[in-house]
Point group: C2
Chain length 447, copies 2
């Protein structure tokens, strides 16, 4: 493929791009993104793989690793010239105009939509959570979740520093990216195996929810450390304090806010009043988290958990699902597009370290979660299945990578290694779980 | 209120704005916009007014006419300094950074979302249409629709030119903005009056659908003329030809595309396959319309009409409604925010002409539709009610204003006069219709 690097610097700074060129470019980008991701998601669905993998792969295809249609480099813009030609032909714009319009659309719109998409996703994950169920399997789930967070986090961080000489902050980030468990993927596999309602299934789901919470808290603290660029006692103390106050405030005010939400929505008369009010709550809590130097997604997740206790939960889930189905993929596509997989090309001698790093992270990610399963005292449970069920990192692992990229902390090698870890852990759970769990789909379907 | 005009020109061109400031600004803009429009929509719902009025009013409150929080002027940026202070305090950004981030978010994101919102809206309107019903009341509806488009269009255009000395193209645009009928508002009022299923009700709905189609076709041709800046025979012939070919192609291929859509979606295995495929069709047809110099919304509307004949119609409506409920308001908010109502301030002697213009347009808009009702040959029908039912311009009238503003054809006086016409016609239909129709809610509710 013959790719040219366009140099933005040679373009006049104040070039006026006509609104119709901008609009046509917006349409074209949306078509390319939706078409590719639809194709990849469909392929994944046929291979019984989770849709998030399809979105990630479509991003990798469109991005810097392959077609270079969706690129985010500033200054020198590395865009596939076929896209620029297409825009020029469709709109009659000059090449220079087309490049400015396209890179403008890409950086401003894709990243904003991706940011809103990950907020919508975490809001939905929070909203889907069932706190009553969590309390029932609480003690066992807490053991699995706690150990399943600490083991990969510590193992990953220490290993990255000791074996690969990674600096402290990126190493912490890499370790933290190994903590989360994807509820979506695990639940889907368990359902297909007919094991979702078993005690093991309930423990896995409960632990996955706790994992998400712990993972997002770790992310909030780590990103904040990265932004300040220093780890000192005062800074750590401030972050732990603000995280604690935030979580405590949610825990204390949760039912009060939920009751107030129910009372207000009952009086609302506008057509989509509850939906708009719910989104407002998510945005405001995201802004609050952002202002006290935590991550916006923590606020959105907390808003979802609060609203999971309202009478509107089902109605809101119903209305938010199609919205999230359109917005959240953009986040994973952007993550994939920004990942330069060429740093892991086995043919290139310079990639060997990255591949070893990926192999190490995968081993830590798998062993950490399986070991966590065996820490449950009740030996009559299928503890191997519980551990294996916690392996897939999925969405939340990718959220770590995406946010890590946005604060510029991860090297391209570490980013690619973490992405590969997420992909592999997500792929092996559906393979290993059926082997550990006797298939009883029939009993589940009758239940 | 003490408003300052910030001058973008004094800011360094290449200022690097940190991603966290951009993100915080995005969150803040979203909160301000959703909060204000939610409040206005709720107020309208309580006054039994259509939500679109609430969205328009919230835009006017936020925009250049009042608070100046949502402003789109380029170069000198007229932003309410309270917002800039808020961003600075929340993010720690400098005033200059906050201004660049905010105006960047406003122009790029709000306008893109507004554009996608109006595409989603027209797609939904097309998808909701019931072609079978239209065929049944066809002849009468065609008379009402045809006359109801021609009379206000010709009356408005000629009057604007003859009485107010408006140039040909803006006058055509002003006349064209009077042609559409808002299905949503009319249907809601008829339903409340218990008259939706009557023959009059069916004729009104049928004529409103045809009106939308004719109005959007006129808009496509007029905007294209405006973009080329000239009315010559070759140009007109090209536009009429491309419009005819486009409509004929849709009419011919409609069932084939719908059948293909049904066949493909039946085979899709990914979770939101049909939804994503439907949106892809809307985007691609919008792009095709755009490329052959028609309006993108015409393509989206046609995609909706095509998909209204598929088995997925209900499921798609269900999933697209929450999405449109979030996106489309942004379009009306942006229209309101861009409208400078001060040009119609009665205390200002310079506004007298604009007010006369608005009064003239309102009279033409009302008389044109009522006269169209009386052109139906069947005297046993309540022809006054049919004419009155066609009066509200609502969404589609505002789509004309929004697109007129984007191609820079309407003077601020004419824009404000058309907006006032849309508002007044939308407000008087719910007042006049009950007077023309004997109330029979009971019979409708039992049906």
């Amino acid at each position: 493929m013959n790719l040219t690097t366009f140099n933005l610097a040679v373009l006049p700074d104040s070039m006026e791009i006509s609104e119709s060129v901008i609009f046509a470019t917006l349409l074209l980008s949306a078509i390319i993104i939706f078409l590719t991701s639809h194709f990849c998601e469909e392929a994944c669905a046929r291979l019984r793989l989770p849709p998030v993998l399809g979105q990630l792969i479509s991003g990798i295809i469109l991005g810097v690793s392959a077609l270079k249609i969706l690129t985010f480099t500033h200054g020198d813009v590395d865009i596939n010239p076929m896209v620029i030609d297409l825009i020029c032909q469709a709109t009659g714009a000059s090449t220079a105009e087309a490049i400015v319009a396209y890179s403008h659309q890409l950086t401003a719109i894709s990243e904003s939509v991706a940011n809103l998409g990950v907020i919508a996703l975490l809001f939905l994950i929070g909203l889907e959570s069932d706190l009553d169920r969590l309390v029932k399997v609480g003690p066992q789930a807490a053991i699995v979740a706690g150990a399943g967070v600490i083991l990969p986090f510590v193992g990953g961080t220490v290993g990255l520093m000791a074996l690969f000489g990674v600096a402290t902050l990126p190493a912490i980030f890499g370790g933290a990216a190994l903590t989360a468990t994807s509820i979506g993927i695990t639940a889907k596999v368990l359902k297909e195996l007919g094991h979702l309602q078993s005690e093991e299934g309930q423990i896995i789901i409960g632990a996955a929810v706790l994992d998400d919470l712990l993972g997002i808290l770790i992310l909030a603290v780590v990103v904040s450390l990265v932004k300040d660029g220093r780890i000192d006692v005062a800074n750590m103390a401030y972050l732990l304090l603000s995280t604690t106050v935030f979580v405590a405030a949610i825990a204390l005010l949760r039912t009060k806010i939920a009751d107030a939400f129910d009372a207000i929505t009952q009086k609302l008369q506008s057509d989509n009043g509850p939906l708009v009010l719910a989104i407002l709550l998510a945005l405001i809590m995201a802004a609050i988290a952002n202002i006290i130097h935590l991550e916006a997604i923590l606020g959105a997740f907390a808003a979802g958990i609060i609203l999971s206790g309202t009478r509107q939960q089902t109605a809101l889930l119903h209305k938010l699902e199609p919205l999230t189905a359109l917005l959240a993929p953009v986040f994973f596509i952007v993550v994939g597009a920004k990942t330069d997989l060429s740093v892991l090309n086995p043919a290139n001698p310079g990639s060997i370290e990255g591949l070893w790093m990926a192999a190490f992270l995968i081993v830590v990610a798998v062993i950490g979660k399986v070991a966590a399963g065996y820490l449950i005292p009740a030996a009559e449970l299928n503890r191997l299945a519980i551990g294996l069920g916690m392996i897939p990192r999925g969405e939340v692992g990718l959220v770590f990578v995406g946010i890590g990229a946005s604060v510029d902390i991860l090297s391209s090698t570490l980013t690619a290694a973490v992405i590969l870890t997420v992909v592999v852990t997500t792929l092996i759970a559906p393979v290993l779980l059926p082997w550990a769990i006797p298939n009883n789909i029939a009993s589940e379907q009758q239940a």
